[in-house]
């Protein structure tokens, strides 16, 4: 604040930020949902590590793990996690072309093609993980 102005108007008003500012509009709420669902990405990564660890610990340990995975509350929870992960992934992928300027042969690749590349990379990575787990 410019002190020279302060001399004539000593009382500036600064509004506080309400704690539920993200309910002001749908885009803000969507942003918070995108940020919060990133926690589920971390959860999914940890889950995968736990699965690998159970596999490493022997058939009994892995059977216990898969039995836990198959229990109803865990299935329900993991369906919710999947929904959150899909939301996070889709919103994240659709933001990517805004950050990436890809050039091929001196010409800028259209955003739609960058997005398509992201989806292809996602599909490829998912196929790799599926192959590791199922093979």
């Amino acid at each position: 604040m410019n002190p020279a102005y302060r001399r004539y108007h000593p009382k500036w008003h600064r509004a506080g930020m309400p704690i539920f500012w993200w309910l002001r509009s749908l885009p803000y709420a969507r942003f918070i949902a995108r940020e919060l669902t990133s926690m589920l990405v971390a959860y999914a990564a940890v889950l995968l590590l736990v699965q690998v660890r159970a596999l490493d610990a022997g058939p009994e340990s892995y059977a216990r793990f898969t039995a836990w995975l198959g229990s109803t509350p865990v299935v329900v929870w993991h369906l919710a996690v999947l929904a959150g992960l899909l939301f996070h992934t889709l919103t994240w992928l659709h933001l990517a072309p805004r950050a990436m300027v890809v050039r091929l042969g001196g010409r800028r690749v259209p955003d739609a093609m960058v997005l398509l590349g992201q989806y292809a990379a996602w599909a490829g990575a998912s196929a790799l993980v599926a192959w590791v787990l199922l093979a």
Partner: protein, 247 residues
């Protein structure tokens, strides 16, 4: 067809009230009127004490930005017709200290703007006799979008990060820095990066993206910031892998 529209204006008169209040006005409805026309009607015909900024009335000067029904907008480019039946709520731009009524203090923005040297920086100037610095249409296209910024600050009002952390450089400042960084005639990129890579620079942005949504000139400051982050990350990795190629 409606004859009048209710316009509710956020008033703040520091000499007579500690907190802002709402004041309601009845304004005649004209199909061709913008929100700014309604405010000027109030100022001219109803209440001359109402304070607000405006100048060009054609979406160029960037001075009449306000919150209209909770969304940052240029009041000279927002038809009353689109807000019927009303009431139309007009507030000062969010995130800035209010001096009076709809007038915010923009000193913070102007100080930050200076920090990123928003002009062409040259290490050595060519003598005028050698002619202009020529650019190809492709080189112009690189930065033209970012050069359309009119400093209206709607992007700041849309940015919850700026409201939460007022030290954040903010969308327009970073987009303008990018405008000069991408200009083939400029040589100030590294000096700007020193400013922009600080904790209050590009890394404070969490990509809410609303700055680009409200921008009346389609500048896409959110895109500029993310491009900047990607460039910074790539050059950091390049510096680790190929230390000799570092800046």
């Amino acid at each position: 067809m409606t004859d009048t529209v209710t316009v509710e204006v956020r008033r703040y008169r520091p000499e007579q009230e500690a907190e802002p209040t709402w004041q309601s006005y009845q304004v005649p409805y004209r199909r061709e009127w913008m929100v700014l026309d309604a405010l000027n009607y109030i100022k001219d015909q109803v209440d001359g004490t109402l304070s607000f900024r405006w100048s060009c009335r054609m979406g160029v000067c960037g001075s009449c930005g306000m919150m209209v029904n909770g969304t940052p907008a240029l009041t000279c480019a927002t038809y009353l017709e689109t807000l019927l039946p009303g009431p139309v709520r007009v507030e000062p731009l969010r995130g800035f200290p209010v001096i009076r009524d709809l007038v915010g203090d923009l000193t913070d923005f102007l100080g930050k703007l200076r920090r990123v040297s928003p002009w062409l920086v040259r290490e050595t100037e060519r003598p005028p006799a050698e002619g202009e610095y020529l650019q190809t249409p492709e080189q112009l296209a690189e930065y033209k979008r970012y050069s359309m910024c009119i400093n209206c600050l709607l992007c700041y009002a849309a940015c919850p990060i700026y409201e939460l952390e007022p030290e954040f450089l903010g969308p327009a400042v970073i987009a303008l820095a990018q405008r000069y960084n991408l200009d083939s005639r400029d040589e100030g990129r590294e000096a700007r990066m020193d400013e922009l890579s600080q904790h209050d620079g590009i890394w404070a942005c969490t990509f809410v993206g609303e700055c680009s949504t409200v921008c009346p000139k389609d500048v896409d400051p959110a895109g500029a910031i993310q491009r900047y982050k990607l460039d910074a990350a790539v050059s950091w990795v390049a510096g680790l892998v190929l230390p000799r190629s570092g800046k």
